[in-house]
Structures are given as structure tokens and as C-alpha cells.
Symmetry: C2
Subunit: 421 residues, 2 copies
């Protein structure tokens, strides 16, 4: 059968040569390319069978996608085990981040935990201190939710002006996954939180033993203890076998390799909520407990790492928008650095505290562009300009930069990170 | 900082020993296990830092998840290059299938296509035959949609009775992904379908040159030419760089490595719609063009490959439901082989022509169970019993078996594929 099909396809492709040749003139004004001789060439993949169904028990991307990877910035930290890498947003589409490409932030590298030897302890101001195995956790009612996770420091290096040339580095400390897990409320109910319990301390089981204080109201609202992401077990670099999910709040609180939850009557004032993850204001005082991630967006294509290669004519502009408060209701895009705005098209499922994908299709005439996007959430919060942000917060901040990003496109389609006033 | 944190954590864990020991009696009635000495042991992952952020440009699952893989059945076909493997449904949760675990069905193995040398041709009854490069396709408006893909032969080996011991093998020719691509209508509009055009032939670029005829109405409705899945490029075994997406219809029509679309005035009567993918009825005549996948469900946990290991008490039953006609409105579960039914809890986003996840939590008393699930879609279609299906379709069929599946659970929690009348 293969032989016959091959022969008939070659005949068809000869027909294709004529068809394609005939259209060469007519297609110049369309998005389809002119006639291509390649359609008539028999490629290796037409000629020889490939790997069978026994070859790849767990699949991986095509070798032609080898450039689509997380990247770290070696000069940023003194050691890669307490550092960050970045999601290649300019290579992705839709709202789900592929599990292998989610940015990583570790304080002592990736803990490689054997789930049979992992436990979650709940203690402190509870009626019944409890220790859960992984099997125990899987006997509680589960839920599946899509949430973005953004590091509070995302875009932080841009606070004093345009610096990094690509949305992977300016905005790539974010990902969005479908989590499977147990609502934290179920576990806390099992332990019985005492009335004086107002805060929860979450601790990781990696070698850094990272901790964060979380208000009990949030813990009882929508927090999850997740063991699954995108249908399968959490990946090691995302906290396997369990992580805390704190929807809409800064990523540092989503403690990975979750080992211990303690109930107390006040926050613990640990390192990650005092010396770090606070916002130093112009007057020398610091904002603390700025948990929620603000409304924000970025154009992922075109962008510095994804220049316009096809010249003038139809172009698909695309990007991501999100808000820690809920859904995105609208995204506007500007071609002229914020003077004029057009409403973009939102596409894909619109889920609270998840990424939203937007598109704007237009004909590029080859002129310089200053591309911006501006997100508005369902509660009416509007993404500010960087100048508006600085006028309120001063020049000392690192965290919680949700300012509007600008990409300059020149007539060759080359793109740079710039700032406009 | 790492040293200090380690020291303070060891102190905390000594406290944990006391707390955990104190609770041993009180927890026996709860889902949390009794006190475990492991919580007090310092594991290697607490002691030593792990891999840094430069170690894994593209991540992979934990080594402790190495058993979660696609599997083929060697006796099923004479060669693995024209064969099938199966999604490990019993190891997954939520509604998104991990990209590396989607079942594969090839007719000549996995084509390894270099996208720069791939073309899509549209010809036949069109005003302007066109040839598209990958870059051309990415200049059309895109969309992101979650759809299930089910092979028409899924559950086909069960037609004559219970045979394969595990939902991976009985129901694992299905996956559900978020696709990114171009609505086929946009491409056909660019080519200009002539009024006499009524059918479309889709052809793959692999060495089998597989073809299927698709009614033009469906092609103009919700079909897509997809280049992305779960946020990244299609995987090679799923048709990289492009595949046809034919929502709700049998997987064989979702032509992978899509190379050619021809418009005609009637179906082509090719192999995959005559000798295969037809349903031989009891009277010797065959149903043809049975494109749409019917309403169906299966319990994935517990199931033969995922027995009950924790004994009596709280148990989470879970499964998947789907319909080629739209959304699932309800799933019922039975413990006694279909005599009594309880409505299960649907969880996660409910999207048309996508998988739906259901749960049912109950206390298992250790008695024998005959577990069944029955899905009902938004149009009122109800999943039939296997006997109801055979009474209409006879005993000769392979494709389109959407009958209710039964798992027998014995008092040890061991589970078998059985059939009840």
C-alpha cells in the first residue's frame, strides 16, 4: 500500500507543479507565497518510514525546535543554584505554558524528591497536628484550575529604564498551567484551625528551606496544594511532588517542594518578606506584604527576539495579559508609543487569574512603530505607564513593575526595547 | 543563609517530631496517615543543593515518574511503524494531556519534517491554487482551542467482550490539547472555493501519504490548520509542523504532516474511508462516513492499572467524559454494574468537544464493586451499554464503540475489566 500511495502522490505532485506555477502571478497580493519548487520535490520524509510507536515512550519536541529553551542570564547572579531562568514567551502561543519551558527560580537548586519519602506536616494553632503522605493527599477532593504564576521581580530590571532586549528576559518570569490538587481549605479543616490562627507559614523541603507567611483568609479562599500540572505530575523544578498554589499572588509565595504548614497568629517576618519582596519607596520606607500581582501585559510577537522577517503587508501581532484580581476584560495596542490605541482581539478561554492571549492583525506599511499594549481587568484596573508607576513608587523598586512596555520596530523589521515618555 | 536555614529547619523538625507523635491516635479516623518518623529525617534533598537554572533548558519529568509512559501492544500489529500506542490515562488528571504522553497512530512512522522545507498546497476546484510556507500560515488570524482527539478504533478491541486489562489500552487512543492555528476557512477563502466544490481531500507528507475526504461544510465550520499544541510547536508524532484539526470527528481525519488540500465535488473513496473506518453491520452492509465521535466516558481511577492500595475509607473516583457534539452536561457513576446511579462532580473548564474531568468521592467499605460511568452531553445524547450498541450495530464492528465500561473491584482493591449484562 505504501508503494502505491507513494506513486500516486508523485503523480499528484506533478499536477501540483503546474497548479502552483499557474498561480505565481495571482498570489503576489496574498499572504500565500509565490509558487515554490519545493512542493514538487520528494523529501526524505516522503520517501522513508520514520520511528515506530515503540520508539518514544515519552515524547520530546522536534530537533528543529532546539532553540526554544529557557535561558538564564549568567551575570545576574553569582551562582546558578540560587538564580532564575526565563520562559521563551516569544516562541509560544495560546495560554498554556509547556511544562518543559516554565521559568525556574531556585534558592538551592532543584530538589529531587522521592515522593514515597515526602511528607506534608500541618501544625501550630490547630486542633489536630497532621502528617500527610502523597497517598493521603490523593484521598481528598481534587480540583483543576488554570493559573498564571508571576515572579514579583518579573520586569524588575526595567525599573530604571529599558535594559534587556527581549520579552523572554523582560517578562519571562511567568508561566500558566492547569494545576491538579487539593484545595488547602480541605486540609486545614481536617487539622482544625484554632480561632486565634490568622497566618500560615509555608516551608519548602529543598536545601534552602524557603518560607513565606500567608494570611489565613487567602489560604482558606483559593489556595491549593497541587501535585499535578498540565495533566501529569509536577515537574521537579516546579516543586515535585507538591507545591503551594496561591492564585494571583507573587510567585515566591507558591512554595515548592512543600513540606510544612504552620498556623500562627501573626506573620513570621522571615527573610523573603522583609529583606526581600518588599518595595523601598522614595521616602526610605518599604511597602510590605504586597502580595497581589497587578494588571499587566506584553507584546510577545513581534518583539526584539522575534523581528519581522516577512516584510510589509499582513502581520499578526500577539501578546499576553493577566491580572491577579481576576479576568482580563480588554487589551489595547498602540503603534505610536501610546498616542493612539486600538482594541485587540482576546482569544482562547478567559479564566480568572490565568493568562489571556490577545491578537491584533494589521497591514504593516514598513514605517517605524512604537508598539505598546495596555491591559484592563474586569474590576476596571488599568495597566499604568512606567512614568505613572515611578511617580507613585519612586526609583528604588524592583518588584511589582507592571508598567507598559515599548518595542521600537524599524523599517527593516528589527526591534529594540525602548522607553518613551 | 543556606547554613542558617538548614540549622533552623532541623530545630523545627525536632518540634515536628513531638507534634506528629502527639497526633498519632487522633488521626486514625482521618485521611491523614498516622505519625510518620520520616518527617523528622533529614533527606538528601534537604541537605544538598540541586541542579541550577542552567542545567535543564528544556525540562523533563522526575525520574520517579519513569513508569508514566505511552505503551504499545506488540502483538497487535506486525510492525511498530504502522501501529498505535496508548495514553496512560490512569496516571493523568485534569483535561489537558501532557504533550509527551499523547497516544500515537502512524501509518509509516514519525515523519521528521524540516519546517523550512515544508509546504501546504490548496488546489482543485478553487479560483487561485496556492502554496503556503509556514511563515505564510503565521500571517493569518489565529485561534486557540481545546479539543479531544479520539481514534475511531478506541475501545474497538472490546467490541466482542472485555479483553484488555487497563483503561490505557481500552480507552487510551485519546488525548486533549490546546491547539494554536489558523481556521481552515481563512485559507480556503484565500484560495476561493468554486461553487461546485463540496468535498476536501487532506493528504499527509509522511511516507504513507495518508488521505481522507472531508465534507466542505465541516471544513468551513470549525476545522483548523494547527501548528501549536499546549503552547509550543506541534510534536513530531502529532504532525509537526502542521496537522489538520477536525473537532469532534474521528482522529484518522486529523491528517498529520499536512501537505495538500484538494477541493472536489465528491468524496475520493480512498482506502481509509472504504476498506477501513467503515462499520460492517449484521446484514453485511457497511456504514460509511461515520465521522462524529459519540458521547462516551471511562473511569480512569481506580482501574485495573490503578488498584485501590489504601484499603477502606475515603476514596476519590475519577474519570473522563467527552462528546463530538459539544459539551458534557452530566456524568453518572454506578457501583453495582448499572442498577443504581449517582451523579458525579464535573470539574475544570467545560469546553465544547474537549475532555471533561469528573470525580466522585465516597467511603469504600471493602465490598465488591462493579464500577461504571455514563456520560450525557448537552444535546441529551446518553452513552449506551455495550449490549444496546450491539443490538443496533451487530457483532462485526471495530470503530465507534462508545459503550459503558465496567471495572470489577474485589475486596483486596484488585481491579479487572469485566462485562455485565
Amino acid at each position: 500500500m505504501t508503494t502505491n500511495a507513494g506513486a500516486s502522490r508523485r503523480a499528484i505532485l506533478k499536477g501540483g507543479l503546474i497548479g502552483a506555477a499557474a498561480l505565481a502571478g495571482g498570489a503576489t497580493a496574498s499572504r500565500a507565497g509565490a509558487s515554490e519548487s519545493l512542493i514538487t520535490e520528494i523529501q526524505d520524509w516522503n520517501r522513508y518510514p520514520g520511528d515506530g510507536v515503540d520508539a518514544r515512550p515519552y515524547g520530546k519536541p522536534s530537533e528543529f525546535e532546539a532553540h526554544v529553551v529557557r535561558k538564564n542570564v549568567p551575570w545576574l547572579t553569582s551562582d546558578a543554584i540560587s538564580s532564575v531562568n526565563f520562559t521563551p514567551l516569544h516562541e509560544l502561543d495560546g495560554i498554556i505554558t509547556p511544562s518543559g519551558l516554565c521559568f525556574e527560580r531556585h534558592h538551592a537548586g532543584i530538589a529531587e524528591i522521592e515522593p514515597a519519602n515526602h511528607r506534608l506536616m500541618i501544625h501550630g494553632l490547630v486542633e489536630r497536628p497532621l502528617v500527610f503522605t502523597m497517598a493521603d493527599l490523593k484521598r481528598f477532593p481534587r480540583e483543576n484550575k488554570v493559573y498564571f504564576l508571576e515572579c514579583a521581580a518579573n520586569t524588575g530590571m526595567e525599573w530604571r529604564g529599558a535594559q534587556l532586549n527581549g520579552c523572554q528576559f523582560t517578562h519571562g518570569m511567568i508561566h500558566c498551567l492547569m494545576y491538579t490538587g487539593v484545595r488547602l481549605k480541605h486540609l486545614l479543616d481536617e487539622a482544625g484551625v484554632k480561632t486565634e490562627g490568622k497566618w500560615l507559614l509555608a516551608e519548602g523541603a529543598d536545601a534552602s528551606g524557603m518560607t513565606r507567611s500567608i494570611p489565613l483568609d487567602k489560604a482558606l479562599d483559593d489556595c491549593m496544594v497541587a501535585f499535578g500540572m498540565n495533566g501529569e505530575a509536577l515537574r521537579p523544578e516546579q516543586g515535585y511532588p507538591i507545591r503551594l498554589v496561591v492564585p494571583g499572588w507573587e510567585g515566591n509565595m507558591w512554595v515548592k517542594w512543600l513540606r510544612r504548614l504552620e498556623i500562627g497568629d501573626q506573620p513570621w517576618q522571615h527573610r523573603e518578606e522583609t529583606s526581600k519582596y518588599t518595595d523601598l519607596m522614595a521616602n526610605g520606607k518599604a511597602r510590605r506584604f504586597t502580595f497581589e500581582m497587578d494588571v499587566k501585559s506584553v507584546i510577545t510577537n513581534p518583539s526584539p527576539q522575534a523581528p519581522i522577517l516577512h516584510g510589509r503587508g499582513p502581520l499578526v501581532l500577539s501578546g499576553l495579559a493577566w491580572s491577579g484580581k481576576g479576568r482580563i476584560s480588554r487589551v489595547d495596542v498602540s503603534m505610536d508609543g501610546g498616542r493612539n490605541w486600538t482594541t485587540a482581539r482576546l482569544d482562547g478561554p478567559s479564566l480568572p487569574k490565568a493568562l489571556h492571549r490577545f491578537y491584533h492583525e494589521f497591514d504593516w506599511d514598513g514605517s517605524d512603530l512604537f508598539l505598546q499594549s495596555r491591559a484592563i481587568d474586569e474590576h476596571g484596573f488599568v495597566q499604568p505607564t512606567k512614568d505613572q508607576l515611578r511617580s507613585v513608587r519612586g526609583a528604588n523598586s524592583i518588584y511589582h513593575n507592571n508598567g507598559i512596555q515599548t518595542w521600537h520596530v524599524n523599517s527593516d523589521g528589527v526591534i529594540e526595547n525602548v522607553e518613551v515618555s
